[in-house]
Symmetry: C2
Subunit: 207 residues, 2 copies
Amino acid sequence: MSDLEKSTNVVWHNATVTRKRREEQNGHKGAILWFTGLSGSGKSSLAHAIEEQLHQQGCRTFVLDGDNVRHGLSSDLGFSDKDRVENIRRISEVAKLFLEAGVIVLTAFISPFRAERATARKVVPHGDFLEIFCDSSIEVCEGRDVKGLYKRARAGEIPEFTGISSPYEAPSTPELKVLTGEDTIESCVDQILQLLEARGVLRINGQ
Amino acid sequence: MSDLEKSTNVVWHNATVTRKRREEQNGHKGAILWFTGLSGSGKSSLAHAIEEQLHQQGCRTFVLDGDNVRHGLSSDLGFSDKDRVENIRRISEVAKLFLEAGVIVLTAFISPFRAERATARKVVPHGDFLEIFCDSSIEVCEGRDVKGLYKRARAGEIPEFTGISSPYEAPSTPELKVLTGEDTIESCVDQILQLLEARGVLRINGQ
């Protein structure tokens, strides 16, 4: 028996730094804030706005969005239904890893299908997945059209565009619905922070 | 122009919580410790042992290994050369996300091919990728055979097994080589912590 094996058998071999220990170190719990909504409904802006607030409060956070996922982990995937499902599957698995790391992870993807959001929810323990519906009419989103995508979709340049040529299945029972087409972002941020407070994410052991 | 757009245009739209701010919050820098070596060479044990030490020092860490990747993110992949390459590609992209989150991420996979390790290195900024070669002879690894995999491989039950029926390409210029077949795990841990110290990972702005 080698020295390595001897010294690893008892203490070292398994992971000793657990999610619980990380959460105690961080002073808050891990959670997944899963934003869903049409393109232009403010998912990414809102996720980053909340992250800024949480960071200032000393929380560990991370935003997964198209910018850091579509060009990296999912760079081999397109926008067919099959590829969209696989994209969301990978995101849910990565979100789970960040959750295990004790991080408040915010995902900002259209994620238009109920089934795939349900799958993402099932990957993690009950209560860790908070679905936040950014509810904004397509008229408002299209009127905004920050990236010019609606214009291109209407011109037929994007074959499967959510809300135009591909369905968006609104959540029936999200943990929270925010009216991003009507309310200010500050109000939406407040509502989400209240949700985190109510769910005990920002406290450890009821403190 | 909606309230949301007005209030997001200037401040909110982009990510404001940068890697640098996270690192300042954490009190150390992010880094990728990429362990490579034969099955049974101690990669995972060593990664967890270092994580324990770093956690006790107040660092934010995360270990990616077969346990949390092969059953999740890469559950659709097998062990063909093609699938192994895709597995390592995904791991390198996830490691990059944790790096952006300011975390010291430790990856513990055989990662037998030089080309794929080189690809993983290129995904992140120069200096953030520290390749650690767990150098242990196949005799020691096979003699240990904690998971019984070598026995199965010799019996022909595992068609492509690194070191038996599939090559292991040892790193020629890793950031560190540890002799996991000869040294104690405590000694290996010390050497790696010294590497992190020397590379400035454990300090912010030279402090």
